[in-house]
Each structure stands twice: as C-alpha cells, then as structure tokens.
C-alpha cells in the first residue's frame, strides 16, 4: 500500500453518469486485476473505493459512476489536476490455470473485469465475456473488450440493447457452458451467479471507511460464520464463500 499524488490525464463520460479517468501514478505497475484504490476527492473526508480497470506503464484507469456528491465532484475535475490515491488495495482475482473462463460484469462492476480478462488471455485461457446493464444508455466497454479480441455478449434488463435479461440469460442465449466464472456487479447479480455456478470468484462492492482492514466498516459473514472484511480479505472471494 502506497499513497500517490496522481495526475489526471483525462476524465470523460462513456455512458450515462459513468466516467472514465486516466491517471499518471506510480501505483499503476503495482496493481493486480480486481484490486482497487481509495480516492481522496478534494473537499470530502472519506476516500472513495474505486476498482482499477486497466493499467499501462504508469497510467492507471478507473471507471466510476456518479452516485453522490463525491463522485459528482470527481466528474468535474480536469486534466492536470491531482488526486491522492491509496493503493493498490484488496486481494484481486487470482489468475488460475483454467482452460476456459467466463467473465461477467454488471454495470460499474464491469471495469475491473477488463484487466482480469487480459490476464487470463495472456496465460492462454479461452475467455468469454458477458456484460449486463439496465438499459442501452448505460452500456460501455464493448469496444475495450473487442480490442482484446473478445466479442462480449451484451445484456440489458429492458432489452434496449443486446439480449433482454440478466447476464445469466446472456450466457444461456449465447450457449456459453463454461463452468468457471469470474464476476463483479451488483449484489442481486452476484447472488444469482452464486446460485448457478460453484467454481470461480466474485468481487463485492461495499461502502468503506479505511479500505485497508482496520475500521470494520465493510464486514460481511462467510459461510463458516466468520466475519470477513470486504476491503482486506476481499473484495474478491471464492464463489460461495460469503453470505450474500
């Protein structure tokens, strides 16, 4: 864990209320797929946990949704301005020797799956990607996955783009039978995935205080009844490990 005064290189909308921000920071080469950074937004006390979507050299990319005043302020920041980052934090997705994996991203759970997909491709796995959104206006990152040579199956709940329904409907519709899943998205999506798959990993989202395991602000219970910290023991957990 390091603190870094990162310089904003770009900050632009890519879907409804969703922004992509590139930052120059020495944290970039340290970040593993599925890890996150804690972003200090000027004028706010607590940091905001945001997953690392992509890194290239000393450039780190985050994708965030405007959820409240803090992320709203972030969206108004300009290239050249600085943001204090703390990271990289959390466990990240383990890159296991699997022949085939299916990657599922829901809404702003999609960004960390890009770097994860790349890591699996690099070790020679066959990677299928299914992305779920509420409606066509919310869809993003199709091009980014295509640049990796993957044609993602897009799903929307209202059917305004791609397959109508959830990522599980998307898997059925595309005939994807892979049983090893890597997923990040809203809780209902992760619950549904956990009911259908037994192998793989899911990444949880949580409000956090510190982000490095000391405040117990993001604690959940695992299936053995032990309390786990999403920020430190996760945010990536083996599927079925945490009571959702």
């Amino acid at each position: 864990m390091k603190q870094s005064n990162a310089v904003i290189l770009s900050n632009a909308p890519i879907a409804r209320d969703v922004f992509k921000m590139d930052l120059r920071t020495d944290l970039a080469p340290m970040a593993k797929p599925g890890q996150f950074v804690q972003v200090a937004v000027p004028g706010f006390f607590l940091r905001r946990p945001i997953s690392v979507s992509w890194t290239e050299g000393d450039v780190l990319r985050i994708v965030y949704k405007i959820m409240g005043n803090g992320t709203d302020k972030m969206s108004s920041m300009k290239p050249g301005e600085e943001l204090s980052l703390l990271g990289p934090l959390g466990t990240g997705f383990p890159i296991k020797d699997e022949k085939e994996v299916v990657i599922m991203g829901g809404g702003v759970g999609t960004p960390p799956m890009l770097k994860t997909a790349k890591a699996y491709l690099d070790q020679g796995s066959k990677v299928d990607v299914i992305l779920g959104f509420n409606t066509a206006q919310d869809v993003f990152y199709v091009d980014e996955f295509e640049q990796l040579g993957i044609s993602p199956v897009v799903c929307t709940m209202d059917g305004s783009a791609g397959v109508k329904g959830t990522v599980l409907d998307g898997a059925a519709s595309a005939g994807i039978k892979t049983d090893y899943v890597l997923a990040c998205g809203p809780l209902p999506m992760l619950r549904a995935i956990s009911a259908s798959y037994t192998k793989g990993y899911i990444s949880l989202e949580s409000r956090m205080g510190c982000g490095f395991g000391v405040c117990n602000g993001c604690v959940m219970t695992d299936t053995n009844g032990m309390q786990v910290r999403v920020c430190k023991n996760g945010p990536v957990f083996p599927i079925g490990k945490v009571v959702l």
Partner: protein
C-alpha cells in the same frame, strides 16, 4: 532536540501521539507500513467479554468535515484478544492501552479481570461513551452515578491505571468528569464521537442501518477542545484529548486547552501515515509558537495559566 515526552499514570510516552481505539484495530495492518515503536502509545479496538458481531451494514457514512460510523463494537472477545492479539504488540516499544467496553457496568470489571497480569498492557481505557450499542456504552457515560460506579468496579480489579473516555453528548461534561475522578479514575480521554445521522434523499431512509452513528473527524474538533478546556479546570487528573486531529497544529491546540497527550482517530483511516507525520510535524509547530517542549505547552490557554 525538542522534548516531546510526557509522563502520565502508567504511560511513559516518548511523544504525546496515540492512535485512538477503533481506528487502529490491533496494530497489525499499520505495522506493515510503519514501525509502531514510533508511537507514544496506541489504543486498541474495544474489547468486550464475549465476541460481538457489530451492527448491520452500512456502518459508515461521509459527513461534512468528517464521518459517521456505527460499527457496534465488533470484536472477537477478551479471550481471543488476550491470546491472539496482545502478544503481537510485545515486540514494539510503545505504551499499549486496552479499550474496554461492556453491556453492563459489571462486564467492564469482568473484562479487566481477564486482562490482569498481561505485561504489555500499560493502562485501561473505559469506553463508557460508545453511541452505537443498545446497552452499556453511552448509557453509562451520560449518567454521573453509573459512570462513577463503573469506574469503581474497574478500579477494584485493574492492575494498571484506568482512563475513562467520555461522551460529549451531555449537558455538562464537567459533572461526569468530576464524578469519575472522585470514583478513582486515573485520567480522562475526551471525547468519543457525537451521536449523529444522515438520510438518503433517494431512498428516504437513514443512510446507516443502525439509523444513528457517531460523528468524528475535524467536524467535532471544536467540541473536543471545549470539553478539554472545561474539564481541565474541573478536575486534577490528566486529560488525553481526542477529536478531529489531523496535524501538528491541532495537537498544540489540544495541549493549550489542557490535554497532556492526544489520540488520533479518523485521520488514520484516510491517511494511514497520519501518526508518524504528526509526530514529525510537532517539534516545528512547538518551536514556531515558542514552546520549549510538549510539557511546556500543556494548559497554557487555561485561565489559571494566563
């Protein structure tokens, strides 16, 4: 070299900086990023007799110049803490304070009894001011008689000095301070968080699952300064100041108000290096305002010293 040391009952502090309970866990995470021996002391997370799971999520919310938490004293119980957490701290040269909580005044005594004879513990801090539990906590610390009785029970079994952390959520904090002093408290810690809440505009519901939480951070610093200043004139036992400290200047403000040392809380969560940074800043701040040492600055804003 500036003398930062302070001697308090049971606590031989090389500097007045102590991470506050609940923002430092049991030191393990912070020991990965800096040497805990840099710290004057450290106060571990609240310990209760039995394990506690704490409150449902969300437990944390942003607030103007601070944060609101309702963790709910999650901890694995005194047995686990004594066996698995405290031994880790023996390798550091810092004064360990164990924060004790309970659902009843008797529980405070039972927790301390289990912790007797553990050398690494230099003092106890009674948490009679947690706003996030249905029994004990703040309910004890806002009633002078109950607070005093809790201190008497603790003092009967404690083999180390007993400090008492008070709530600002009272009409006259000096009455509670005087009551616990009379009951034998060795020092005060002022203040714990202030009961607070937020409501989500979209859902029209409280943001925290516990509905209310404790406000901390710079937002409560002026309240804490006031509490220290008032109590320093009402009691003769030493005071450890706590509330919204983020920098060396804040520490000096607490010293001037009558604190002999300080605890750093929320700032640890947003700047994990806050404590060593503040220790580094302190000599320059003292020099700038023409103090020869930490001791030299204690209580200098009080009417009796000006």
């Amino acid at each position: 070299m500036m003398d930062l040391s302070v001697q308090l009952p049971g606590l031989n502090l090389k500097n007045p900086i102590i991470p506050a309970s609940g923002t430092f866990a049991f030191g393990r995470e912070f020991s990965m990023i800096y040497d805990l021996s840099l710290l004057g002391g450290m106060c571990v997370k609240s310990v209760t007799l039995a394990p506690r799971e704490g409150n449902p999520l969300p437990r944390i919310a942003e607030a103007p110049s601070g944060m609101i938490n309702a963790i709910g004293l999650q901890n694995r119980g005194v047995e686990f803490v004594a066996e698995k957490e405290l031994p880790f701290l023996t390798k550091f040269d810092t004064e360990v304070i164990v924060n004790v909580a309970g659902a009843s005044i008797q529980e405070y005594g039972e927790v301390i009894e289990r912790l007797q004879g553990i050398d690494v513990i230099k003092a106890f801090e009674l948490n009679i001011s947690c706003p996030n539990v249905s029994a004990g906590g703040m309910a004890i610390g806002t009633d002078p008689d109950l607070a005093a009785e809790c201190v008497r029970i603790a003092k009967r079994v404690a083999d180390k000095p007993v400090y008492v952390k008070l709530s600002p959520n009272v009409t006259d904090i000096t009455k509670i301070a005087a009551a616990v002093e009379q009951a034998g408290a060795d020092g005060l810690v002022l203040i714990n968080t202030m009961p607070a809440m937020r409501i989500d505009l979209k859902t029209r519901k409280p943001l925290l699952a516990n509905i209310t939480g404790g406000l901390s951070g710079p937002a409560i610093k002026p309240i804490a300064i006031r509490a220290v200043y008032q109590c320093a004139q009402a009691v003769n036992i030493p005071i450890i100041g706590c509330g919204g400290i983020t920098c060396g200047e804040d520490v000096l403000e607490f010293l001037l108000a009558g604190a002999s040392a300080v605890e750093i809380g929320s700032e640890n969560l947003v700047d994990p290096w806050a404590c060593p940074r503040i220790i580094d800043e302190l000599p320059g701040v003292l020099e700038k305002y023409r103090f020869a040492s930490v001791k030299d600055a204690i209580g200098k804003a009080l009417p009796q010293n000006s």
